[in-house]
């Protein structure tokens, strides 16, 4: 609802991202890459979802592919293409997926070039996303840092912030290779929290996507911090606009009030994200060790 009030274009990005995820779950890699390319063309950050969505598509392809030597027929216990020979080749899949992505992106950029007078749109669209020149206050973490930063250090910090965000993509895929959908949803959370032009719409879309992992809701002793995190989200979503108004319109607060509220908002989202990651990993662990069900974790 807040997204509808703000009318940002991230609604389109979210739509195409979700479309891409959906096609990946159906194993249709071309359409998935196509939708992801459109989403990346609009806002740059869905590119980070390439590894997780690729993994998801590959996983679904494996599941839907029947084994080559299916002599037992429908009664065969081997439902999936589990042997190495039956699986689609990784390199083959990767090349097709990535190639489709690049081709669509190139097509869209070429179309833009045809419609616009020059290539100037490239720096004005993508470099503004990368170099973050617009520091209008938003619920993100970047604007406050970059406002007070000295110019010589700007590129360094820009690099550090982007490196931090990029560095989550592949490790999520590696660790959650058995549950690629969880990797996708976690990566969505990372981009919602850490992207330069953060907004409430992407955070809201990610929170809705958490229901995709509803199988973890039943796992006991997980989701330990939902109530405090949601209560904090409630408080910060009320205090954020209040302090924004006090700072910019009433002139009686300053940026620190608003940024502190933003920090707490992102902290609450981060707690939900880490809780989700914990529940996904715990679910995996309990599948291997059923006797551990319900036991609390202890730090040793």
């Amino acid at each position: 609802m807040a997204t509808a009030l703000g009318r940002p274009t991230t609604a389109f990005t979210t739509f195409f991202t979700l479309l891409s995820i959906r096609h990946a779950t159906e194993g249709k890699l071309q359409t998935s890459a196509f939708a992801l390319a459109i989403a990346s063309y609009l806002s740059l950050h869905p590119t980070l979802l390439l590894p997780p969505i690729g993994l998801l598509g590959y996983d679904q392809l494996c599941k839907s592919r029947k084994p080559v030597n299916d002599t037992d027929g429908p009664k065969s216990p081997m439902r999936y293409a589990s042997t190495q020979t039956d699986r689609p080749k990784v390199l083959d899949f990767g090349t097709r997926f990535f190639g489709c992505f690049l081709l669509t992106a190139a097509l869209l950029l070429a179309l833009s070039r045809v419609l616009l007078p020059s290539f100037a749109f490239l720096p004005s669209v993508y470099l503004t996303l990368l170099r973050v020149p617009d520091l209008t206050p938003n619920p993100g973490l970047w604007w406050y840092f970059f406002i007070e930063m000295f110019d010589p250090f700007r590129s360094f910090f820009l690099g550090v912030f982007w490196l931090h965000m990029l560095s989550y993509s592949v490790p999520f895929c590696l660790r959650m290779r058995k549950q690629p959908l969880a990797a996708v949803v976690s990566m969505l959370g990372i981009t919602a929290i850490f992207q330069p032009y953060a907004n409430v719409g992407e955070a809201g879309a990610w929170l809705s996507c958490l229901t995709l992992l509803s199988h973890t809701f039943e796992v006991s002793s997980t989701h330990r911090y939902t109530f405090p995190a949601v209560a904090v989200l409630l408080y910060t979503s009320l205090l954020g606009p209040a302090f924004h108004h006090l700072w910019l319109y009433a002139g009686s607060g300053n940026a620190n009030f608003f940024y502190a509220t933003t920090l707490v908002w992102n902290l609450a989202l981060l707690i939900i994200l880490t809780d989700t990651v914990y529940s996904v990993l715990r679910d995996e662990w309990e599948a291997e060790r059923p006797e551990g069900k319900g036991k609390d974790v202890r730090q040793i």
Binding site: F227, A231, L234, Y235, L238, L239, A242, F243, H245, L246, Y249, A250, G251, S252
Partner: protein, 618 residues
């Protein structure tokens, strides 16, 4: 045992489950007590001028001598104009301003609220500082009719004299705008709204013309309220009004400047909130504090200055009070000195406080000292809500009374280890049951959406039917909780979840409101405090007592009581009309807080109490 082990042992302890209502009661008592402590010397400070550029009272004011004759002439002119119809009056004032060398313009406006129309025309002129760069402006206001609807003869005359006097000085670094609105509330509102926009599209309730003439960014505004008639009357003290719309306050420096100049340089006593005598005792300080809280929580305009404050333009009104020996020239010199001080500013007043409570003209309480009172009151709701949330996760077997049959059931036991100790406890006491959130959340959302109906009723009905609308709302308020409780059967856990969610929302909203309008949060927090203590109960006596306490502290009853206590002569209809005008024309949020925040929480409290009746009947 280690501390962490002790804390873990508390997890199942029944003491913690019983604690929240007592904590909430403590929070409410602390909140009330906090306010009562504020008038003491330890919690308040003397006022001081923070901005060094102001230099209050350092200039010699030359307003006097022959200006007095000019003033008397203008006062007779104003009296003559007041006998004429409105068009002639405005033309007359425009001519006087134009003759003094000001650039003049006028702005008609019209508001339509509750079937009543409020019309008028603002007349204004601009003194352009000959050496100024026209980027900033100060405003001198003198409404034609003051807040008590008397004609502001001497105020307007003084403003006209000062305009002529100011236009002869070349020291001004900012332009001076002289504004003469038709009334004290809607005229300045229309003017300042139009000043800060290119054009305001007309709506069904508002039609404001654009301003043909504008100056730079507004820095400060001073309004004069001196309704003495054509032969004049001396006054004894100045009452300073400083409340803005929605509880916003001007920078304290502007008040300190005016008080310092009036009482220091000119020797005129300054009072607040119509307290003509102030002996600086605890009682008087508490009285001024309470008046300040009342006007701030209502958030309605208290004078011509109120409309400017939401636009970050500091503004005050100087109102003459009583019968003494100060005359119009003293007031004129005070105004001149204040304008000379504002003239010195290089930027908006920002050094001093924006959030304060005044105990007298020289004593204030800063925000760090009074804000915790409202926060603690909001905390009482949050504490109860957290307690209820935890209770809602407990299993029914622990809550049901121990019957003989229980001993015969096989109770599953489980060992609980803490360090080296072990205990055998019923398994169900350490597990949490799954909470059914859907029905309570939906009910909460539905009740909050329903809150827009009383809001619409109270703001859109015609004047004659407003009182009927309030009676209708009262009737619905009494019936709605019971009907909801009977149609939607809630289990114990669901009722606790519903109340918990409602109280969390109320606590969060009141805490946020306290940062914007402290007094409103305090008042609503006090009136809604029974909501933290009502519980679903199967005893009909307790339910009846809770229902009675809820009915006494309900929003509609609060409106009736407010009218009876504070405006007994005006009548319910007039009060409701003023509230409706506040919402529609002035943009005051009071009605939304009452009907959109407090009333839904109250209805939910009623539903929870009602569900106790239903559970007992089962």
């Amino acid at each position: 045992m280690a501390l962490s082990a002790r804390l873990l042992a508390l997890r199942g302890s029944p003491f913690l489950y019983k604690l929240p209502p007592y904590l909430s009661a403590l929070c409410v008592l602390v909140g009330i007590g906090w306010i009562l402590l504020l008038p003491l010397n330890e919690y308040s400070r003397q006022t001081y001028v923070s901005e060094n550029a102001i230099l209050p009272g350092q200039v010699h004011t030359y307003f006097g001598g022959s200006e007095h004759n000019i003033f008397r002439a203008f006062r007779q002119e104003v009296y003559a104009l007041s006998q004429q119809p409105e068009d002639a009056r405005q033309a007359g004032i425009l001519k006087i301003l134009a003759d003094s060398g000001l650039k003049t313009a006028s702005q008609p406006y019209a508001y339509q609220v509750a079937g009543e129309s409020i019309n008028g025309t603002n007349v204004y002129g601009i003194v352009q500082g000959p050496r100024a760069d026209a980027t900033e402006a100060m405003i001198l206001l003198a409404a034609w009719r003051n807040f008590d609807d008397q004609i502001n003869y001497s105020g307007v005359a003084l403003a006209l004299t000062l305009a002529r006097y100011f236009s002869r000085w070349s020291i001004w670094s900012k332009d001076i705008i002289l504004l003469i609105p038709s009334d004290s509330t809607y005229g300045p509102l229309a003017w300042v709204d139009a000043y800060h926009s290119i054009s305001i599209p007309p709506t069904s309730s508002r039609n404001i013309s654009a301003l043909p003439l504008k100056a730079g960014a507004l820095q400060a505004a001073v309004a004069l309220d001196y309704p003495a008639g054509p032969w004049g009357q001396r006054f004894s003290s100045l009452d300073i009004l400083y409340d803005g719309l929605n509880g916003a306050l001007p920078n304290l420096d502007l008040l300190n400047t005016a008080v310092s100049i009036a009482s220091g340089q000119m020797g005129i006593a300054c009072t607040l909130h119509d307290h003509a005598t102030h002996s600086d005792s605890y009682r008087d300080r508490l009285s001024v504090l309470a008046s300040g809280l009342a006007t701030q929580s209502l958030g309605h305009a208290t004078g011509p200055h109120s409309a400017f404050i939401p636009y970050h333009v500091d503004a005050i009104t100087l109102k003459t009070v009583g019968d003494g020996w100060h005359d119009e020239m003293s007031l004129g010199r005070v105004t001149e000195s204040v304008f000379r001080s504002i003239n010195n500013l290089l930027e908006h007043l920002h050094q001093s406080f924006f959030f304060y409570i005044l105990l007298n003209a020289n004593r204030f309480v800063s925000v760090g000292n009074y804000l915790p009172a409202a926060m603690v009151l909001a905390g009482s709701f949050t504490t109860s809500a957290l307690g209820l949330w935890v209770l809602s996760g407990r299993d029914d077997v622990l809550v049901a009374p121990l019957a003989g049959g229980l001993a015969k059931q096989k109770v599953e036991m489980e060992t609980v280890k803490l360090g080296g100790d072990m205990a055998l406890v019923p398994k169900r006491s350490v597990q949490t049951i799954e909470r059914e959130l859907f029905v309570p959340a939906l009910l909460l959302l539905g009740v909050h959406i329903l809150g827009y109906i009383p809001l619409w009723l109270m703001t859109s009905l015609n004047r004659e039917t407003l009182a009927l609308g309030l009676h209708l709302t009262t009737a619905v308020s009494l019936i709605l909780p019971i009907s909801l409780a009977t149609t939607i059967r809630l289990t114990r856990s669901q009722a606790q979840i519903l109340q918990s969610l409602s109280l969390i929302l109320l606590g969060a909203l009141l805490a946020t409101l306290a940062t914007l309008n402290f007094s409103l949060a305090l008042v609503i927090g006090l009136l809604a405090s029974p909501l933290a203590f009502v519980r679903r109960s199967s005893s009909s006596l307790l339910t009846a007592a809770q229902a009675l306490s809820l009915a006494i502290t309900s929003p509609p009853v609060a409106v009736y009581a407010f009218q009876r206590v504070f405006y007994p002569a005006a009548g319910l209809e007039k009060l409701l009309l003023e509230l409706a005008k506040g919402w529609s024309a002035q943009g005051v949020w009071l009605l939304w807080v009452a009907w959109g925040v407090w009333w839904p929480a109250w209805v939910v409290g009623g539903v929870v109490v009602g569900s106790g009746v239903m559970s007992a009947r089962r």
